[in-house]
């Protein structure tokens, strides 16, 4: 043994002692206690060259290794990440891809340290540690799998190479990578706490056997593991070369400085870009479990309302952002909660595009924001038995609210170009297909995960499939690739859905519709729909920075036993939702049953001849639709982005279906808009009047039971919510107790 393992990996310190030492230094407010950046200040050019060297190491690893991966998520859509970490797991440099995860890597490292992994099973060069258990590893949900390989330089342990990707299938109670029906951790899937799964850069066979037995897409999961290992090895090799060139002392100093530099830039950006104050945004989601798992898990036999409330406090003097989540819903026995990793990942993503401009993306960004997530809250469960099946859905909605606070503040400071509605969203389709030949496989279909519509801005419309902040190199894959990987299910449509957006002076980006027919090659298939673009029973966000209409909800519609296979044989099929409705109306398309799901769905069985449609990824509008340029409305109609009826009703622009008008359109619009304003006047009341009637509904117990229960749960969990709720509606003690 050449000092490669044991309890003194880091000179005189164990890994845990090292983490505690670093935390102590960082509690000064400066990462690693660095009040100055001597390497950078003495020679900024060498410092930049060093960063380029380690950054290109992780970028190169990603570009090369992803070609090994089988899963379409990694290969086709780039849903993967490589990073160089300090010994404590803080990211120094990250590749492109799923960039947010770097914020969570340190959780797994800490877990290994706290459990003495440096003594047993030991940490040695070429060892492979893989993890996907959200409670212990920081991975947000079991479909996100992390791999770590220790970085040694001449027998000295100096950091980690980390690789992660979003895998195709997690092996949960329902198929897919984000099981939305999962009452607790035991139904989440194949959960691996940080585990040594190989050595000398070679995986142990048992790991593959576990993937084969415990997941529904073993081949993809095995290849993904191979990819992560190949990439980590490339990181180790390239960084070792960089240390040969720059020296070990330089490496140790500069990696710390790079993180502190980033923290400082974030903090300076807060001072530069924002206005001090407090902003609040909120989103709601429903989690309908009643009737789903009642028999086995009675504690989950109910429907929840999630209150995803973010209060952002900005201090421009200190350059500090604080997020207060004191009004959030409590953790409960459903799949929409999570652990700390989902917070750290999301935090990083939101910092990146707001106060993270012009810096080296790394863990320093997490240090620029502080937060309170109350004990027992949705993402800080009281014990480690809670499910983290799909926290991305609820947390993205929560963090849109966080982002909204920053967007409002940047606009107020005058950075108009940097403001937009923070309501990015995603929709996933997942499930399991069993073919007539008996072959069965789980899948995630990421058409609507690879990119979302961009939100409206104060100066322009959003556009369809424009970006994905969880994966900046957005990509939805091609129909031809998806049908090749998922045979038996045919796309009838992958198109923008007209008028599917939040309206405003600028429109949100239109959402997309996917329509599928289940072919007769399929024995049976299970499909599920998850995602953050769904507000379920609500809009995407409750309100948005631009003040226009928030995005509509996403939806899954299933038509049972249609005549689509017969129509296909005749060379006919409906090209999307609108035509489908017409064909049903005319009797051309027949079906026996129709199901509509705005909420997340874990497992619906579909059979040959069924059609299902998923719509998602719309975003909200900016400003009053009556202020939209008349010619922009007419062009929308002409291009088929909105129907003439919407142009007239919502925008006050009376045009025919070609976007033209007989007389002067400007004059016609002016008259129509005046009429709409008069209608607004007639149909509105003063807020005080509204307050009196709404108060009666709250006080008299006329609320539906679902909402009564929801308010009671929130009032019971969050003292600050309870106080504001009661004082706002002026409830007396008895009424307060009821609601």
């Amino acid at each position: 043994m050449t000092g490669l393992a044991g309890d003194k990996l880091l000179g005189q310190r164990t890994l845990l002692e090292q983490i505690e030492y670093t935390d102590e230094l960082t509690s000064s407010g400066y990462y690693y206690g660095l009040r100055s950046l001597p390497r950078k200040e003495q020679d900024p050019i060498t410092y930049e060259r060093f960063y380029d060297a380690v950054h290109s190491a992780v970028m190169g690893a990603r570009e090369t290794s992803k070609n090994v991966a089988a899963s379409p998520g990694a290969r086709e859509l780039g849903e993967l990440l490589f990073a160089l970490l300090t010994p404590e797991g803080h990211a120094v440099a990250v590749s492109s891809g799923l960039v947010g995860h770097q914020g969570a890597f340190r959780i797994a490292i800490r877990y290994m340290a706290e459990n003495g992994y440096d003594r047993n099973p030991q940490i040695r060069p070429g060892d492979i540690f893989t993890a996907c258990d959200p409670a212990t590893t920081g991975t947000p949900h079991p479909g996100d799998v992390y791999t770590f390989v220790p970085l040694f330089y001449k027998d000295e342990f100096i950091g980690w190479a980390a690789g992660m990707n979003h895998t195709m299938e997690a092996g949960g109670a329902v198929p897919g990578a984000w099981p939305p029906w999962s009452p607790n951790t035991f139904t989440d899937g194949y959960l691996l706490p940080p585990t040594k799964v190989g050595e000398d850069y070679e995986d142990y066979t048992w790991l593959y056997k576990h993937f084969e037995r415990r997941t529904r897409a073993p081949m993809f999961n095995i290849l993904d593991q191979k990819m992560r290992v190949a990439g980590c090895r490339m990181v180790v090799d390239s960084v070792t070369e960089a240390i040969d060139k720059f020296g070990l002392d330089y490496f140790k100093d500069a990696t710390r400085e790079i993180i502190e530099e980033t923290r400082r830039i974030c903090s300076d950006n807060v001072k530069l870009l924002t206005v001090p104050g407090r902003s609040r945004f909120v989103a709601f989601r429903t989690v309908p479990y009643a009737g789903v798992v009642d028999g086995v898990w009675p504690q989950s036999a109910k429907n929840w309302l999630l209150h995803l409330h973010s209060e952002v406090q900005i201090d421009t003097r200190e350059g500090q952002v604080h997020v207060n989540w004191d009004k959030i819903s409590p953790a409960n026995w459903h799949a929409q909660g999570g652990y700390k990793g989902i917070i750290e990942s999301n935090l990083w993503l939101n910092v990146m595009d707001t106060i993270g401009l012009g810096l080296k993306p790394n863990s320093g960004m997490n240090l620029a924001v502080t937060y309170d997530m109350p004990e027992g809250g949705l993402f800080n469960p009281p014990n480690d038995r809670h499910s983290a099946g799909n926290p991305w859905a609820s947390s993205v909605a929560l963090f849109n609210c966080f982002g909204g606070g920053l967007e409002v503040s940047k606009r107020a400071r005058g950075f108009v170009e940097e403001a937009w509605n923070s309501d990015l969203c995603w929709t996933g389709i997942q499930g399991e297909i069993t073919l007539k030949n008996g072959f069965s496989f789980g899948f995630c279909q990421m058409d609507l995960l690879g990119a979302s519509a961009t939100p409206a801005r104060p100066y322009m419309d959003g556009e369809p499939l424009g970006t994905a902040w969880w994966n900046p190199s957005s990509d939805t894959g091609s129909v031809e690739e998806w049908e090749y990987v998922l045979p038996g299910i045919y796309y009838l449509s992958k198109n923008v859905l007209p008028s599917y957006c939040g309206h405003g002076r600028f429109r949100g980006g239109l959402g997309m519709q996917l329509a599928f027919a289940v072919s007769d090659e399929v024995q049976e298939a299970i499909i599920g729909k998850i995602g953050a673009s769904t507000g379920n029973y609500f809009t995407g966000q409750a309100s948005i920075p631009g003040g226009g209409y928030p995005a509509p909800t996403s939806t899954l519609i299933v038509y049972r036993q249609t005549n689509i296979l017969e129509l296909l044989r005749q060379g006919e099929y409906p090209g999307g939702m609108a035509e489908l409705a017409e064909w049903i109306e005319s009797g051309k398309l027949t079906y026996t049953d129709r199901e509509l799901h705005k909420e997340e769905v874990g497992a619906l069985f579909v059979k040959p001849g069924d059609i299902y449609i998923v719509a998602g990824n719309a975003t909200g509008g900016w400003g009053d639709p009556l202020h939209r340029a008349v010619d922009a409305v007419a062009l929308d109609v002409k291009e088929g982005f909105i129907p003439a009826s919407v142009a007239d009703r919502v925008y006050g622009v009376p045009v025919d279906e070609t976007g033209s008008a007989t007389e002067s359109l400007e004059a016609a619009a002016e008259a129509r808009r005046a009429e709409i304003r008069r209608d607004r006047e007639a149909s509105s009341v003063s807020f005080e009047e509204f307050w009196r009637t709404e108060r009666e509904v709250v006080r008299s117990g006329e609320l539906p039971q679902f909402l009564t229960d929801a308010y009671a749960e929130l009032n019971g969990f969050s003292p600050s919510f309870r106080e504001e709720f009661a004082r706002f509606w002026q409830l007396d003690a008895e009424e307060e107790a009821q609601s």
Binding site: R49, D203, L435, R457, P464, L465, K494
Partner: protein, 722 residues
């Protein structure tokens, strides 16, 4: 370069027609060359073509007709295709696609970030769809028709290309009529999975032709299954749209140029360059393949010289004013990319794998005073050079002037005089002071950043191939290549530059071979442990496809007048079943015709795969998948030859010495010898510190290094002996 005209024979003409200037390059059999320049005439490029060569011919004391009469090949490249599209001057195109996919041109599968730097990709507000803008596509010009062809699929249930829904002919007629009503000048057809079964696309064309006959109009109908028969519909669509919108315009312009050449006594046909690095005739049916024609020249030149030097593996860097382009030649083959990003579009196109980095010798230097970052480009001073001439912002060139590498009185052969004091002032105020550095230190720092960028990109390219730099040779060229050569610190086996570095791309175009490349999407699955019968049937199908592609290639070459087929290469894009990324393998043995050939093909695939990704990444137990077949048909074409010189004494002749000046190396000012490039002969060795000047470029040799002129007058740059 100016020699008596009688010496010049077997001349090859290579034109690079840029948006502003047209470079007319003539290379004679003895390797000497002449360059003429003319302002590009955008209305009729035949005029600028003639002006350019009049100029080039005059250098050799010839008339334009004499030059043409002695020319044996004539290759015309340029940016016309790109500019036509960028300026939205292409033909109005209508698109017919599979019903339900009509907004493919809007959503572009989410590729809204193509062309952005990494930092910009992270800034989501910079994401924007290029969409149909370049093609002026709008909803009324896109029509869906019901039809479905099956993928085949991965788990071997359905035959690839099986028709699941017949083409709806009534809808097709309506679509054609609607597009013609809109006045389209071309119709593009992109149906799902047409690369596996083109029947529906062909039927659409027949119907379109019927409709047009009835209406008495004719517009071209362009099928994706003929233009780019490969997987991934969005990329295929982009390629077809480019062909439909730009192809006819470019072809017409090339015809005019050809006519101009023929009228001046050139007896052959005009050729142009395909982006995969071969010459094609201007009658080539897939004109969009020439969209990136110019920059490929450097790689072809490098490959040609590599063959002379016996170098199998070469990395190239073409350093110009605004960018550097890094390319690769592995085992004598130019590396290609299958899905290149171009002008914000991802294409289905074989394109030489050039990585363009937006920093070059003329790049603006920006310093963020707060964070002390130095960033270079993407803006560039172009012909304004820097603050030392008339550019408003400080540039890399200013740094080179400050450090004594560029002679302010002898820039571009003395055509312009640079202001050294202005450069010093600019570097001091804009870079040194914000960074808290000395002027020389700051200027040197900027060059180090540029060099670091270059080195990292060279290394990344090698690593992506699993290659070891010590087995590779580096060629550096472009106007600023020799100036930055010393910055390379990757441990290459050898490093070369060339006296004609500034004209290297044009030289390379002249070297290009005449070839056709065909790709055909396929779907062959070879299960693990497949028996001989299975393999025999796959081999037969592959063999038939290869024969058809080869025949098509030979036919096209024949029809374009290039009779002698020299070589046919066969290969396939393969992957392990389950893996999505394909690997292109050019077979060493020829086409797959028999089960034994198939085994060899698999063995060659596995060998290449392991080389790149490591043995652990292999997955033979899941079987093999052949995704695409390709055939490369090469015809004979004259190429420039290189003269072999007698080696002279290593010590340069005194006449080659221009004098000396101070230059800044490794932290100190040093007395540096200055040489005239044209005065140095084969065998000469110039030891650093030295600067070798040429009207079009400057070679910097720092202390401890030397430049040796070999028997071809290629310049090997290396550590000084002894």
């Amino acid at each position: 370069m100016t020699t008596a005209q009688s010496e010049h024979s077997q001349i090859i003409l290579a034109t690079d027609a840029g948006g502003t200037m047209t470079d007319a390059f003539a290379v004679s059999q003895d390797g000497s060359f002449s360059i003429g320049k003319a302002l590009t005439n955008k209305v009729n490029e035949a005029i600028s073509y003639a002006n350019g060569y009049e100029n080039a011919a005059a250098n050799w004391g010839m008339s334009l007709e004499e030059l043409h009469a002695k020319s044996i090949a004539n290759i015309y490249t340029g940016t016309l295709f790109l500019n036509t599209l960028l300026e939205r001057k292409g033909l109005s195109v209508g698109l017919i696609t599979t019903k339900g996919q009509e907004s493919m041109y809007i959503h572009e599968r989410g590729h809204s970030w193509l062309g952005l730097e990494w930092e910009e990709v992270l800034h989501h507000k910079l994401h924007h769809h290029t969409g149909g803008d370049m093609f002026r596509l709008r909803a009324a010009l896109v029509r869906g028709v019901a039809e479905r062809v099956a993928s085949g699929g991965y788990f071997m249930l359905t035959e690839p290309g099986q028709v699941k829904a017949p083409l709806n002919e009534a809808e097709t007629r309506d679509a054609v009529n609607a597009l013609l009503d809109e006045g389209v000048a071309a119709i593009a057809v992109v149906l799902l999975f047409s690369y596996l079964n083109p029947a529906h696309e062909r039927r659409v064309r027949e119907i379109a032709q019927d409709v047009m006959r009835e209406r008495g109009v004719t517009v071209p109908v362009i099928l994706s299954s003929e233009i780019a028969p490969v997987m991934k519909e969005v990329q295929r669509m982009k390629s077809v749209l480019m062909e439909a919108a730009g192809g006819p315009i470019v072809r017409e312009m090339l015809r005019k140029v050809e006519q101009a050449a023929n009228e001046r006594a050139y007896r052959g046909e005009l050729a142009t360059m395909a982006s995969y690095g071969s010459i094609v005739n201007i009658r080539h049916p897939r004109m969009y393949e020439t969209i990136l024609s110019g920059p490929t020249g450097g790689l072809i030149g490098a490959k040609t010289i590599g063959e002379i030097l016996g170098e199998r593996n070469i990395l190239t860097a073409d350093i110009g004013g605004t960018s550097f382009d890094v390319g690769m030649i592995q085992d004598h083959h130019i590396s290609l990319r299958k899905e290149p990003d171009f002008a914000g579009h991802r294409l289905a196109l074989q394109m030489v794998a050039l990585d363009s980095i937006g920093a070059g010798a003329g790049s603006e230097v920006r310093v963020d005073p707060k964070f002390k970052h130095i960033t270079l480009g993407p803006e560039s001073a172009g012909s304004d050079v820097g603050k030392c001439l008339r550019h408003p912002r400080v540039t890399v060139s200013d740094c080179n002037v400050v450090l004594g590498f560029l002679d302010p009185d002898n820039f571009l052969g003395g055509d312009v005089t640079l202001d050294r004091e202005a450069a010093i002032r600019a570097v001091r105020e804009d870079i040194a002071e914000p960074l808290g550095l000395g002027v020389e230190e700051a200027a040197q720092g900027v060059l180090e950043v540029l060099n670091a960028n270059l080195n990292h990109h060279l290394l990344t390219m090698l690593k992506a191939r699993g290659a070891n730099p010590t087995e590779w040779t580096m060629f550096m060229f472009g106007g600023a290549g020799p100036l930055h050569l010393y910055g390379i610190d990757v441990p290459f086996q050898k490093v070369y530059t060339f006296p004609f570095a500034a004209a290297f791309s044009a030289f390379g175009v002249a070297c290009a071979e005449y070839a056709k490349r065909f790709h055909q999407g396929a779907s062959y699955i070879i299960p693990p442990g497949a028996d001989r019968d299975v393999k025999a049937s796959i081999a037969k199908a592959m063999g038939d496809a290869y024969s058809a592609l080869r025949d098509q290639g030979v036919r096209e070459l024949n029809s374009e007048g290039q009779l002698a087929t020299k070589e046919v290469l066969y290969g396939a894009s393969m992957r392990y079943v389950g893996v999505l990324e394909v690997l292109d393998v050019t077979f060493t043995f020829g086409a797959v015709m028999t089960p034994e050939d198939l085994d060899r093909a698999i063995a060659e695939f596995e060998e290449n795969y392991a080389k790149i990704y490591g043995k652990g990444a292999a997955l033979p137990e899941s079987g093999f998948f052949v995704n695409e077949l390709f055939v490369h048909v090469v015809a004979d074409k004259p190429k420039p030859r290189f003269v072999r010189y007698e080696l002279a004494d290593p010590r340069p002749a005194e006449s080659a010495r221009k004098g000396e000046r101070q230059a800044y190396f490794a932290g100190t000012w040093q007395t540096t010898q200055v040489y005239d490039m044209d005065g140095l002969v084969a065998g000469n060795v110039v030891r650093g510190p030295a600067i070798i000047e040429h009207p079009m470029t400057t070679l910097v040799v720092p202390p401890g290094a030397e430049a040796r002129f070999d028997e071809h007058r290629f310049i090997e740059y290396r550590a000084a002996a002894g």
